[in-house]
């Protein structure tokens, strides 16, 4: 039974450490810069920011 709990807590610790590690790695790599550009990527000249693109049909 003890071996089982070691496995369980071990897995939890490993997962937690991996998540933190991934976060630190991503920040260092610059993955969190230039986010604003990404949020604007769905707009362009045809459908710019500020233009509403849906309405009820006319009838």
């Amino acid at each position: 039974m003890a071996a089982f709990y070691i496995a369980l807590w071990g897995l939890a610790a490993l997962l937690g450490a991996t998540a933190v590690g991934a976060l630190v790695w991503a920040i260092r790599r610059g993955e969190f810069e230039q986010l604003r550009e990404a949020s604007m990527s769905i707009f362009d000249d045809e459908e710019p920011v500020g233009e509403v693109t849906d309405r009820f049909p006319r009838n």
Binding site: S39, S41, I42, E47, E51, T53, D54, R55, F56
Partner: protein
């Protein structure tokens, strides 16, 4: 269709290489329309089965001599039609269109992808026939026999191939938040489905652990297949309709990864009080409570994007359905987190309360968002306007009100049912008697919702036949400087 090219000004010189939205949408047309049309069909079939099952609950003599329609078969057939028919097919259609738009590439495999719609339909149909004939696996959310379900695997493989191809050909280095969610969904779903089949039908898991595998699967279908597709849709359509970018991209990032991490662990909250180790149940409760993080993140993000623009709800059918859905996502998730607490679960487990909760998620969130998506996408693929604002309003109000009646009636009934069940002095049949009028209210709500579905099917049939105003371009509305109505080219 030929006249389309003449009415659109040619792209500016530096953009000549770039595909226009029209070209992207046109490449999606056959596949997405086939998926959407199939989804609408299953919505109607699933609604018929829903009404039959609902009526049987308060009037058990209804169609009682038809063995194939007995409640224990009608109910899982309804679920299969809605989950694998309506929900998944509307979801796949939307997922493919969103990915084409976001990568700004054409949808690939113009023969194979539409073929997957046909195969998917056949799989759902065989699965439902199997259930009604008595070959259900009797495992919730995965009743379709494995031999039939294997066909889903082929379809998903093609869909994944298409997604990867579009992603690799994308022109922009930036990936939009919706794309992360869609990527998640497209990989999580097959991993879930295949793992579940292995655990449930082989000795890989035994006895009570099969129940843990069952609910790991079922809960994750909600959280890692439907939720990401729904959220991807909301994240794209709210900004697109109101013309404003998402409020905080940082929050989007946080929301996605916390969903990916925490949702995965919530599944065993379906087994609270059950015959599994206490640590396993507790882990599920913790995962469920941690879900507050991604849910609040997403809610704040969407709300702050919408703030100051709520009046557009009057003018946009898509926005109405999508915002209703997004708000219900927040509501159902909060409710779910609370339901996973042992003290609440002690009352609500095994009652109609859970059914109301399930429909708040799959219907009030996911289905309403899918309606919003179809309202946006279909005109752009078919170059026609929806033929009647009146029918759209009828659809919205009957489903919105129907769902509210459904949830209120069963939540109240379920809570009382649970309280009485925990009082050993209350005879069981008295509890049953108490719930009956509320089961009638659920049937009434179901009728209202079905009226909405029929309205929607009528609208979809008409737009397929391009009965509405002809649209020369992808955007329905007035371009800057043009008077209103100029964009609605020919037709009335």
């Amino acid at each position: 269709m030929a006249s389309t090219a003449e009415t659109i000004p040619p792209p500016a010189p530096e953009e000549r290489e770039r595909l226009t939205r029209i070209q992207i949408d046109r490449s999606c047309r056959q596949t997405v329309v086939w998926y959407y049309a199939s989804a609408v069909f299953w919505l109607l079939a699933g609604s018929a089965l829903a009404l039959i099952a609902s009526i049987k609950m308060h009037s058990p003599e209804f169609l009682a001599d038809q063995e194939w329609l007995t409640f224990g078969r009608a109910r899982p057939a309804h679920l299969a039609a809605m989950i694998y028919g309506w929900g998944s097919m509307a979801g796949v259609g939307t997922l493919l269109w969103l990915q084409a738009r976001l990568t700004r590439t054409r949808l690939p495999f113009p023969t194979l992808l539409p073929a997957t719609a046909v195969i998917w339909n056949l799989t759902v149909a065989f699965g439902m026939i199997a259930i009604l004939a008595g070959y259900s696996t009797s495992i919730e959310w995965i009743e379709i026999p494995p031999a039939t379900a294997v066909l889903f695997g082929f379809c998903i493989a093609v869909i994944i191939a298409a997604s990867v191809r579009m992603f690799r050909q994308r022109e922009s280095k930036h990936t939009y938040v919706s794309q992360w969610y869609l990527f998640g969904a497209i990989f999580w779903f097959p991993l879930l489905y295949v793992s579940a089949q292995i655990f449930l039908h082989t000795p890989a898991a035994a006895g009570a652990v099969k129940a843990a595998a069952n609910w790991w699967f079922a809960h994750n279908v909600l959280g890692l297949w439907f939720t990401p597709i729904g959220l991807a849709t909301v994240y794209y359509l709210i900004p697109k309709v109101i013309g404003r970018p998402v409020h905080s991209y940082h929050l989007s990032l946080l929301g996605f990864w916390t969903l990916a991490i925490f949702y995965n662990w919530a599944g065993t909250h379906h087994l609270i009080g059950g015959p599994l180790p206490a640590w396993l149940i507790t882990v599920g409760i913790v995962g469920s409570m941690m879900m507050f993080v991604p849910v609040v993140t997403v809610a704040v993000n969407h709300h702050l994007t919408m703030v100051g623009h709520f009046h557009y709800l009057k003018h946009s059918p898509t926005l109405r359905f999508v915002v209703y859905g997004a708000m219900c996502y927040t509501a159902v998730s909060f409710q779910g987190s609370l339901q996973s607490l042992r003290s609440v679960n002690e009352v609500s487990h095994f009652t109609h309360y859970t059914i109301a909760h399930a429909h708040l998620g799959v219907y009030a969130f996911f289905t309403m968002v899918m309606f919003g998506a179809i309202y946006y996408v279909a005109p752009r693929l078919l170059n026609a306007e929806w033929h009647s604002a009146g029918w759209i309003r009828a659809h919205f109000w009957s489903t919105a009100v129907g769902m509210a009646v459904y949830w209120l009636g069963l939540t109240w009934a379920g809570w009382e049912q649970g309280r009485m069940m925990n009082d050993p002095r209350v005879p069981f049949l008295d509890i049953v008697k108490f719930t009956v009028p509320w089961l009638w209210s659920r049937s009434a709500a179901g009728v209202l919702m079905t009226i909405g579905h029929l309205s929607f099917a009528w609208l979809f049939w008409n737009i397929l036949r391009q009965r509405g105003a002809y649209l020369p371009g992808p955007t329905l509305l007035v371009r800057k400087g043009e008077p209103a109505g100029a964009a609605a080219g020919g037709g009335e």
